[in-house]
Amino acid sequence: MRKHRLVWPLLVLALLLLFNLIYSPDFFSIKVRDGHLYGSVIDILNFGSPLILVAIGMTLVIATGGIDLSVGSVVAIAGAMACLQISRASDPNSLISVLSAVGLALVLSAALGLWNGFLVSRIGIQPIIATLVLMVAGRGIAQLITNGQIITVQSSKYQYLGAGFWLSLPFSIFVVAAVFAIASLLTRKTALGLFIEAVGCKPTASRLAGVRSRTVTLAVYSFCGLCAGMAGLLLSSNVSSADGNNAGQWYELDAILAVVVGGTSLNGGRFHLAGTLVGALIIQTLTTTIYMVGVPPEITLVVKAVVVLAVCLIQSDQFRAALGGKRKPGTPAAAKSGVKPHA
């Protein structure tokens, strides 16, 4: 069943890549320069890394029946915090100052996630409102940290995180691989995944079955914050600067899209991390494609919207059935897709 769900997202990704191949035949060519691999595919993986990280955290939050709108702001805060620390350090290039800056930024991001989780699970605020608070306030916090300026840092060690190469591949790919592996192991090799799905599907029933639903919610939101923080570090390190105002803007929407395109329902319950990975790659490939094709900037968002709509429709069993001329309203299969059928 789970493999079956990946079919449509993978198909869409393949179609996008095929389009690129036809449009520019050297799309898949990878060149070696200075012992590093370069090429469009590598770029997609590299530039898509922050989005994948954010989307992984978002998947788990959505699985609990919640949503986290604050990830974009957390991305900005984490970058700002790390850059501020490094720029203040006596030696911005020392390993200790970079590590402590990174550590501090990550702890702060996890704490911000915890705050969201606290509002949702203890105070009982609806997730969309609770995280909206930090989405708005977070931009302010990020600008406070950077003092309204763009902080630029000169640290080759920090730069390595988002722009460095390891084993001739961008280092950020390894960060993503590690986080994805950790998230998969945590949810599938422990009982955390079962608890998250149970809480997301039926909170009351889960509580009565003895699941500590509040703790699960807290853990998931802080993990999401942590993921956003890491994405912020990759982004700011890539450009060696922190922009409190613009960094991570619209990330929450792209991440939610990636999750939905990947087959996880916004209603909560079953989640698919691999689907999210493919979903995020679809979004990133789409962005790259739009730039490459040279779509006029004023209509890029419209093109993106059309493609995303098509992806969502193609995943809806109801829509496909309607296309095929067969109508089966209300069949259980219709509820499987990430898109909630009109009911």
Binding site: A191, S206, R207, A209, R327, P332
Partner: protein
């Protein structure tokens, strides 16, 4: 006379299950026709085919002689087929009148004519249902029984020719059932055809004219009520398992067991606005029944014991432990298990498989880090599927695809896996067919023999009397009486429930 509705040769297959095999169903104007069958017999599927929720693979549906094809409940309504479900699906925060007319409000110049709507609603309720209530108040301010009548009024306002009542009585008390039946009789006289689904045999014989029986998706026959003795009906519904009913131990045997050591002691336990303080002791291996009308505080009492609601008065202790119980987690750690009466909302987790539903409570007790290996989970699931006779026996099936009775068994399995000392069962047999009901009752007795204590809550008095060693009676959110042994008989309990003076 021509039937108003005629379904013939209906087939419906779901992946892996033949839900309906060549089923026929006729409904005449001015009759109440009971559709009978165990859980999984295909009653719900047949109704869903009729109301356009599912499309039949094969077969013909005719209304007044003309074939019809409906693709959605809306289309069914337009064709004159309306349904009132067991769980009322109206909007609790809208007014009564709005609920009746939502979707077909009286308009003039694009504006809803509120006054006319309220007036019509009032007249409809008064004339056809003898219900004199304020139609501008929100639906939720009325009891479930009244809400049910309002749902019927809504169906009538769409000028239904066929009214489907899907287990309308399962959450009503005796007097409310009588009120509903009076209305059904009146509607019948007015020529309405009523399809009635219920699990209560008494009610079938009281109200119906005709019975159609399904078993395992097959049509077992159509009978006039006065030509079908009860025992024959039951044997047609459950097939050859009839002997099972007879070998059931009598209550005399059941209460012959000696009581073990004190297990749970509730002293002056209560919660403001929920239940008055009460004392209750439960011993090891004892089955304590809770009897009382709906809303008498049975569920509230159980929820306090489990910590699902926090008590604010008195104390609650399990033998051999010091702490009081304030949350489900604490209760589970103390060895208490609780099967809620609200199976859909507080029991099953629909997105998960049968296996995941079974291991959930055990896994929650172990904590997130000590995952039960997949293989072990499968073994546990298969063991209990076999033990409790759960159909279908595939542990990877999603639980929402199971029938109500089998979902209930999965929930029982969930708790049995945790090997509790005290099992609280709130209406474990509600909405379940006779076969599964007997199985669950027998299981309760077996568990008690093995030393487990059970708190058994049920609206059905006979059932409580049959399984319990001791019965506590509740009335108006207060524990009024406790009885055991010889004084435990139907009349005594009824008297305590009713609260009248001894005659």
């Amino acid at each position: 006379m021509e039937p108003i509705l005629h379904m013939s040769g209906i087939h419906k297959t779901f992946p892996g299950v033949k839900a309906l095999k060549n089923v026929n169903f006729r409904l005449f104007p001015g009759e109440v026709h009971a559709l009978m069958g165990e859980n999984g017999a295909g009653k719900s599927t047949l109704i869903k085919v009729l109301t356009g929720v599912y499309a039949a693979d094969q077969g013909l549906v005719e209304m007044a002689g003309a074939p019809i094809r409906v693709h959605s409940p809306q289309e069914a309504q337009l064709a004159g087929i309306s349904t009132v479900y067991q769980e009322i699906n109206l909007c609790p925060n809208l007014s009564v009148a709005e609920n009746i007319y939502i979707g077909h409000e009286p308009y003039r110049f694009g504006r809803v004519r509120w006054k006319e709507m309220n007036r019509n609603a009032e007249r409809l309720l008064k004339e056809r249902l003898h219900l004199d209530i304020d139609v501008t108040r929100p639906l939720e301010s009325y009891s479930v029984a009244v809400q049910q009548l309002i749902a019927i009024a809504r169906a009538l306002s769409i000028s239904a020719k066929v009214l489907i009542l899907d287990e309308p009585t399962s959450s009503l008390d005796q007097s409310e059932v009588r009120q509903l039946f009076a209305i059904m009789r009146k509607l019948k006289e007015q020529g309405l055809a009523i399809l009635f689904v219920t699990h209560f045999l008494d009610q079938v014989y009281e109200i119906s004219d005709r019975i159609t029986i399904l078993r395992g998706g097959e049509f077992m026959g159509e009978y006039l009520v006065n030509e079908l003795p009860r025992i024959e009906l039951v044997s047609k519904m459950i097939g050859k398992e009839l002997e099972m009913l007879e070998e059931f131990p009598s209550s005399a045997e059941a209460s012959g067991r000696p009581a073990g050591q004190l297990l749970l002691n509730a002293a002056g336990l209560g919660k403001q606005g929920s239940i008055e303080p009460f004392d209750l002791q439960i011993h090891q291996g004892e089955i304590v029944g809770l009897a009382g009308l709906l809303g008498s505080g049975r569920t509230e009492l159980a929820r306090l014991l489990f910590g699902a609601d926090r008590h604010d008065q008195g104390s609650l202790q399990m033998a051999g432990s010091g702490g009081s119980i304030h949350s489900p987690r604490q209760a589970i750690d103390e060895g208490i298990a609780f099967c809620s009466e609200n199976r859909k909302k507080e029991g099953i987790i629909d997105d998960l498989t049968v296996r995941e539903n079974i291991v959930l409570a055990l896994q929650a007790a172990k904590g997130w880090f000590r995952a039960i290996p997949r293989k072990c989970q499968e073994e546990i699931a298969e063991e209990y599927i076999r033990l409790l006779n759960i159909h279908p026996s595939d542990s990877e099936q999603l639980i929402r695809n199971l029938s109500g009775g089998n979902q209930q068994k999965v929930l029982l399995a969930r708790w049995l896996v945790t090997e509790p000392k005290l099992l609280i069962l709130d209406e474990p047999t509600r909405g379940i067919d006779i076969g599964a009901k007997t199985e669950i009752q027998k299981l309760v007795l077996t568990l008690a023999e093995k030393g487990m204590s059970v708190l058994f809550i049920s609206s059905e008095l006979e059932e409580v009397l049959r399984v319990s060693d001791r019965i506590a009676v509740l009335r108006d959110r207060r524990k009024v009486k406790e009885m055991s042994g010889a004084e435990m008989n139907q009349q005594q309990v009824m008297q305590a429930i009713a609260g009248g003076e001894k005659g």
